[in-house]
Subunit: 236 residues, 2 copies
C-alpha cells in the first residue's frame, strides 16, 4: 500500500471540484432551462457528461488516491469504467429514437467522433479486462501493454471531452439559429461554462494521472521525465 | 547529434500524411465549396488549421527528427511556434470585422476556448523564449521547467484541436439550419473528414512527442514509463 502525497491529493480534490461544477451545470441546463425538457434530448448530455466523462475520470483517478492493494484498485477501476461504458452505450442509444430510423441521425462530426470515442473506450475496456483482470497474458506482455493502455486511455478520455464540446456547440448553435435562444442569455452562458469546466476537468485529471510523486516510496506506476539521460520527476 | 530511429520517423511521416489530408480538406472547403467564399470567414479556418495547428504540430515534431545541435532545434521550434502564434492572432483578428463592434462576436464557447488556447500558447511561447532561448534562468530552474513546458504545450495543442472541432460543428450546424446545406452533402462530409483528420493528427503528434526511442543512444529528452520501480520505455 503506497502513501498518497499532498500535491497529488490536492489535484484529485481540484478534479472533484471541477467535476462538481460540470455536474451542476449539466443538471441545471437539462432540468431547469426550458429548451431541453424531459426527453431523450435531456438524457443524452446527462448520460454522456455525468455517466461517461465524470465516472471515467473517477476511474482514472482511482490509481492516484485509493489506498489498498493493486488488485482492489484494478477492480474498482474496472467496475467504474464498466459503468462509464454502459452509460456511453445508453447515451448513444437515446439518439436512436428520432424520426427516420436508427442510423439517420449519425450524420454529424459530433456523432462520428462520439462513435470513435466509445469504440476506442470499449476496446480499451475489453483488452484491459483480458490482460489485467483475467490475467490471460503473461507478465512481460502485460508490462509492455500497460503504458499503451494508459496513453490510449488518456487519449480516449481527451477525445470524449472534445466530442462533448462539439455536442454543446452543435446544440447551442441549433437553439440560437432555429429557436432564437439569446446568445448571451442564461442558457448560452450555462452551456459555455459547462464547456470550460469540461476543458479544465480534462487538464486536471490528465495532470493527476501522469504526475508522479515528489518522492516515490511506493511500488506504484509512475511516469518519469528524463532529460539528457538524468531521470527526474515531473514534479521535481 | 542523435540518430533517429525508424519507429519515431514513421510516426513523423504518418503525422505529415494526416496533416496533408487536413490541409487539403480545409483548402477544398474554403476555396471550392460555395458557402464560405473568399472573405474573412474563409481566412479564419485557413489561418487556424494550417497556420496555427499544422505549423504548431511541425514545431512539436522538430525535436523528434531534425538532426543538428540542440540549439538549432530550439531555434527552429521557437520560430515555427512564433509563426503559429502570429497566425492564431491574425485568425482571431479576422473575427473583429463583423457587425456590432470588436467584442460582439465573442459570445460562443468556441470563441472562449479559442481565446483560452491562444492565451496559453502565447504564455508558453514567452516563458519558453525567456527560459530556453534567452537563457535568463539558471540551469536548475530550466530543468525543472522543461517537463511542465512539454506537458502544458501538448495540452494547449490538444485544446486548440478541440476548439477547431467546436468551430467546425458551429459553422456546419449554422449552415445546415440557416442555409439548408444538406447534412450528407459534399460540404458536410468534407468538414466531418477534416474533423476526424484533426483528431487523428492530434493523436499521432502527441504520440510522436512522448514516445522515446527503443534504445536511446543520444542525449535527447525522453519520456520514460516506470512500473514498479523498474524503468522502461513506452516502446519497449
Amino acid at each position: 500500500m503506497g502513501s498518497v502525497d499532498p500535491s497529488r491529493l490536492s489535484l484529485v480534490l481540484f478534479a472533484r471540484l471541477s467535476g462538481l461544477v460540470v455536474a451542476v451545470s449539466v443538471l441545471y441546463w437539462a432540468l431547469f432551462l426550458p429548451n431541453l425538457g424531459l426527453s431523450y434530448s435531456t438524457l443524452h448530455p446527462l448520460l454522456m457528461v455525468i455517466g461517461f466523462i465524470l465516472v471515467s475520470g473517477e476511474a482514472i483517478l482511482i490509481h492516484r488516491w485509493l489506498p489498498g492493494s493493486r488488485k482492489t484498485k484494478k477492480a474498482v477501476h474496472l467496475w467504474l469504467q464498466g459503468m462509464a461504458l454502459a452509460s456511453a452505450v445508453f447515451g448513444i442509444w437515446t439518439k436512436f429514437h428520432y424520426q427516420r430510423g436508427v442510423f439517420a441521425n449519425f450524420y454529424s462530426l459530433h456523432s462520428w467522433m462520439g462513435l470513435l470515442s466509445v469504440s476506442l473506450f470499449a476496446a480499451q475496456w475489453v483488452t484491459g479486462f483480458m490482460s489485467f483482470w483475467h490475467r490471460g497474458e503473461v507478465r512481460t506482455t502485460r508490462t509492455t501493454f500497460l503504458p499503451w493502455h494508459v496513453f490510449l486511455g488518456l487519449y480516449t478520455y481527451g477525445l470524449a471531452i472534445a466530442t462533448a464540446e462539439t455536442g454543446l456547440l452543435e446544440k447551442l448553435t441549433f437553439l440560437q439559429t432555429k429557436r432564437n435562444v439569446p446568445r448571451r442569455g442564461s442558457e448560452s452562458m450555462t452551456v459555455n461554462g459547462l464547456g470550460l469546466g469540461l476543458a479544465l476537468l480534462g487538464c486536471i485529471v490528465i495532470t493527476a494521472a501522469i504526475l508522479p510523486k515528489y518522492q516515490s516510496h511506493s511500488r506504484d506506476e509512475k511516469l518519469v521525465y528524463s532529460s539528457q539521460d538524468r531521470p527526474k520527476c515531473l514534479s521535481s
